[in-house]
């Protein structure tokens, strides 16, 4: 039997943000998950509030209070403004490695999407930060693509820029056989020069900006970006990503790295099937194919997401019930992020991430805020203030 302080179920943004914070408080922590969840598929940006009341939000921190008062059941309302701000600030400061997220917390960015539209978001990977509407308007843009790369549509992006925003945009498709984004990213990671040189074969004009597919390596993105800039004498950026997503892979690694450094064991392929809880602690049954194990912990955080989540059975003394019965049902917590289910509050089961989301989905903002908040509550529960 494994005996730890905190077990976290789910290894997306919410679970891993919580794991880092809890492990930094010197509590022994373990993460189990059936597989990588939705974070690894994410776009490379983190939203707080993009649209509200039918309108586009420019300053999400200013809109937050009104959002909370109109959506009292939303995870943002449970976490509260102050902690949300802390969560975003800490993320911006502490997650700085081979990639980092940038953005002014006061003001949304308006970034180029894979459909050639612009969308408001709060933080973006540094390689993407230049692709804003403000930058591109009035500039000459070249959208660079690869002939066989799936899920990247340079002609659509260029035409949409021209039609909708009168941005002078062209596109070019380099003749490559690679079809998958990760395949190209790995190739660029090791052989970027060869591919970039091939741009010389084309007689390209002068451009202010190069819009590149989000495949510029996994760890060397900044270098590859400047190699493109050097050869074409223009500023370059990656557009947001559709899945399968290289920026999502970078984020996953960015989130995992500090956990691993702090000694957090991340076990993939294990499914939590049952949590039994008493005031003393939780006994969680985990299974992998035919293997079974029991984990004893003082607290559990359920961060199993929304789209990919599975069923877990939870029971507390006289209460027995199955949680997450339906993908479309959301879990509820009290103000301290403790699970409320079947009319009961569970003292040592906490919930984080999009398992809590109401209908209005937020791109990772909920995960970040609730991951942070649940960790803070677990630490308070186990160590006091």
């Amino acid at each position: 039997m494994i005996d730890i302080d905190v077990l976290i179920i789910g290894c997306g943004m919410a679970g891993l943000v919580a794991a880092r914070k809890i492990s930094e408080a010197n509590l022994s922590t373990m993460v189990i998950a059936t597989g990588l969840g939705s974070t690894v598929l994410s776009s490379g940006t983190i939203d707080l509030i993009g649209y509200f009341d039918g309108g586009k939000v420019r300053k999400p921190m200013e809109t937050l209070d009104e959002f909370i008062s109109q959506n009292p059941g939303h995870p943002y309302a449970i976490v509260g403004r102050e902690r949300i701000l802390q969560a975003f600030q800490e993320f911006n400061e502490k997650y700085d490695s081979f990639t980092r997220y940038e953005g002014n917390l006061e003001k949304n960015l308006t970034l180029l999407t894979p459909l050639g539209l612009f969308k408001p978001t709060l933080l973006a990977q540094s390689s993407m930060i230049r692709g804003t509407r403000e930058n591109l308007e009035g500039s000459k843009v070249l959208v660079i693509g690869f002939r066989n790369l799936l899920n990247h549509t340079p002609a659509l992006i260029a035409k949409s820029l021209k039609e909708n925003w009168e941005i002078d945009a062209d596109y070019i498709k380099l003749d490559r056989s690679e079809t998958q984004p990760v395949q190209l990213a790995l190739l660029l990671e090791s052989h970027s020069e060869e591919i970039i040189q091939s741009l010389n074969e084309h007689n390209l004009g002068n451009y202010d900006y190069l819009a590149l597919p989000p495949v510029l390596g996994i760890r060397r993105t900044r270098e590859i970006l400047s190699e493109f800039e050097d050869i074409l004498g223009a500023k370059a950026f990656e557009t947001m990503s559709f899945p399968p997503s290289v920026p999502g892979l970078r984020l996953q690694q960015l989130l995992e790295q500090p956990c691993i450094q702090n000694g957090v064991e991340i076990r993939l392929g294990w499914r939590a099937v049952e949590i039994k809880t008493t005031k003393k602690g939780c006994q969680t049954q985990i299974v992998e194919n035919d293997s079974k194990q029991e984990i004893s912990s003082k607290a559990v955080i359920i961060a199993t997401g929304q789209i990919m989540r599975d069923e877990i059975i939870a029971s507390e003394k006289d209460f027995q019930g199955s949680i997450n019965p339906q993908i479309l049902e959301y879990l509820k917590t009290d103000k301290e992020m403790r699970l409320i289910f079947g009319g009961k509050s569970f003292e040592n089961i906490f919930v984080a991430g999009s398992a809590l989301s109401e209908k209005n989905m937020t791109g990772l903002g909920t995960a970040l805020s609730t991951g942070y908040a649940s960790a803070a509550e677990v630490i308070k529960y186990l160590k006091g203030n």
Partner: protein, 525 residues
């Protein structure tokens, strides 16, 4: 203003069948539909080419018609048909009572049949319920109704016909005669005149007749169908019992379609499948093929059968209704409705005979002998297609199977767009250029783009790129098309479960949260 001999309202299989029949007889004909071709009942059924066996006991007249048309269509429309054969299996002891009248009926109605042992049935279809009590082989087949319609229209176009899709229509009636139709498209109206207007609007026939000043009672009957992503049978599987809900499984490409239900509805517009109907169909079909219970439902849809006359949906004859509304005091107006996909050609022949008689045209019907475009001559080899389109062997085989000789008319544009249903770039371009597709939903019908497990999540984005890059659509048109495609998928979210629901939500996050498709009309502010 323009002038035709005949104007047909309705681009389903019957309307397009009449269009072809008349065009082959030299009659100058226009077909108008408010939407795309094959967008209602024609495309919303199980895609079964009946052997007739289903009706031999309850409706021998229909059974005989089906048996004859089955043989004709296997000749003239072979590229749209997968000649699977069918099995009728008795799942319960008490259904054995039905075996004898069934076999006798088959012989009487000239339905090719052979009783086989349960062992043989299981050998042919190992996923069949091992507890079945009896099995009869019949010559059912699966048919692609979209390609059937498109091929009829292609043939007509070659013979001088004209077609307007996405065009609303109203009969022009003066002094007790229908003189033509007024069409409405993109905010513009236009008048088209003809000697005769043919009402081939299926479950909407009563409504159109009313506009022409004629009372015609059509009872729309809703049938719901379920699509599974795994195909584990090569035969059509029928339950050997009197016709009832959930009695058939039809293999289609890489999917299986389970059907169906039968409920009268007030109006044929806006009907959606219900979870209860789906549960019932699955519960019934798993009696024949137990694996159905654990299979992934990727889609469900429903269509409105145009039934007429009294009685319940099951017992009333599905035979055709052909009316010269002269009997109602209206000249120049003919309705053809009812019937079945399998008997569309016969219905078209009867309607065209009537129209020609009224026009004084003597030319005879040629549709029973003349193959449809796609089934004329020898199709190109899969190797040839593979080289031209630079696609894998599976895809090139699929292209040749689907389009037959039409595949040699496709543009030489390389690449695979839809990985679930193996749809190439060339097919998408060809659909727009030659097969009257106006948007991605139309392309889906013609090519099967987005009909597989991911339901278009990845391929429609690529197809939007094809629209912009190869076909000169604007970005706005491509994105609108993409959004409409998604909206149609999301209409059935309420019936999905498990992995397919995850898939749908995943697509939603992708296009709405990341792509920002909902705010595509946002301009500078």
């Amino acid at each position: 203003m323009s002038k035709f001999d005949v104007i047909i309202i309705g681009g389903g299989v019957v309307g397009s069948g009449v269009l072809r029949d008349l065009s082959l007889r030299g009659v100058h004909t226009l077909l108008v539909d408010r939407g795309d071709l094959a967008s209602e009942a024609t495309g919303k059924n199980h895609g079964l080419l009946h052997s007739g066996a289903r009706y031999v006991v309850s409706d021998p007249e229909s059974a005989l018609e089906c048996a004859e048309e089955n043989i004709i269509l296997k000749k003239i429309a072979k590229h749209t048909i997968e000649d699977t054969g069918g099995l009728f299996v008795a799942t319960e002891e008490r259904n054995l009572e039905y075996l004898d009248p069934f076999l006798k009926g088959c012989s009487k109605c000239k339905v090719e049949n052979k009783e086989i042992t349960v062992e043989e049935a299981l050998e042919r279809e190992p996923f069949l319920n091992p507890n079945i009590k009896a099995a009869v082989w019949v010559n059912d087949a699966s048919i692609d109704p979209f390609l059937l319609v498109v091929s009829n229209v292609l043939s007509a176009l070659r013979n001088g016909a004209e077609v307007l899709t996405y065009t609303s229509v109203k009969p022009i009636v003066e002094n007790g005669a229908v003189l033509g139709v007024e069409t409405f498209r993109n905010g513009k109206s236009e008048k088209h005149f003809s000697e005769i207007v043919v009402n081939a609007t299926g479950a909407w026939a009563g409504k159109v007749a009313e506009q022409a000043g004629v009372k015609l009672e059509i009872r729309p009957n809703k049938g719901t169908l379920v699509v599974l992503n795994n195909r584990v049978t090569n035969h059509v599987i029928n339950n050997l019992r009197p016709p009832s809900d959930g009695d058939i499984i039809v293999p289609h490409y890489s999917t299986m379609i389970l059907g169906t239900t039968s409920t009268y509805v007030e109006k044929p517009d806006g009907i959606l499948p219900e979870k209860e109907e789906i549960k019932k169909i699955v519960r019934e079909c798993e009696k024949m093929l137990p694996i159905v219970a654990d299979s992934r439902i990727i889609r469900a849809f429903c269509g409105a059968r145009p039934l007429f006359g009294k009685g319940s949906g099951r017992v009333v004859t599905r035979g055709m209704l052909l009316v010269d509304h002269k009997v109602d005091g209206v000249e120049g107006f003919v309705t053809i409705t009812g019937g079945k996909l399998t008997t569309y050609r016969l219905m078209a022949e009867k309607a065209s005979d009537l129209v020609c008689e009224k026009l004084g045209v003597r030319a005879k019907c040629r549709t029973a002998e003349e193959p449809l475009p796609g089934s004329e001559g020898t199709p190109p080899s899969a190797e040839e297609i593979q080289n031209r389109f630079q696609v894998n062997t599976l895809t090139s085989n699929e292209i040749v199977n689907k389009y037959g000789t039409i595949s040699s008319e496709m543009p030489q544009k390389p690449g695979l767009i839809c990985e679930c249903s193996l749809v190439s770039r060339a097919e998408i371009i060809h659909s727009f250029e030659k097969l009257l597709a106006k948007n991605l939903r139309d392309v889906k019908k013609r090519t099967r783009l987005g009909m597989g497990t991911c339901q278009g999540q990845f391929c429609i984005h690529r197809a939007a790129e094809v629209m912009v890059e190869d076909l000169n659509f604007s970005a706005k048109e491509a994105l609108n098309s993409l959004a409409e495609f998604l909206d149609e998928q999301w209409k059935i979210a309420h019936i999905l479960e498990g992995d397919q629901l995850r898939q749908l939500m995943f697509a939603r996050v992708m296009f709405e949260i990341v792509g920002n498709i909902r705010h595509r009309s946002e301009k500078r502010d």
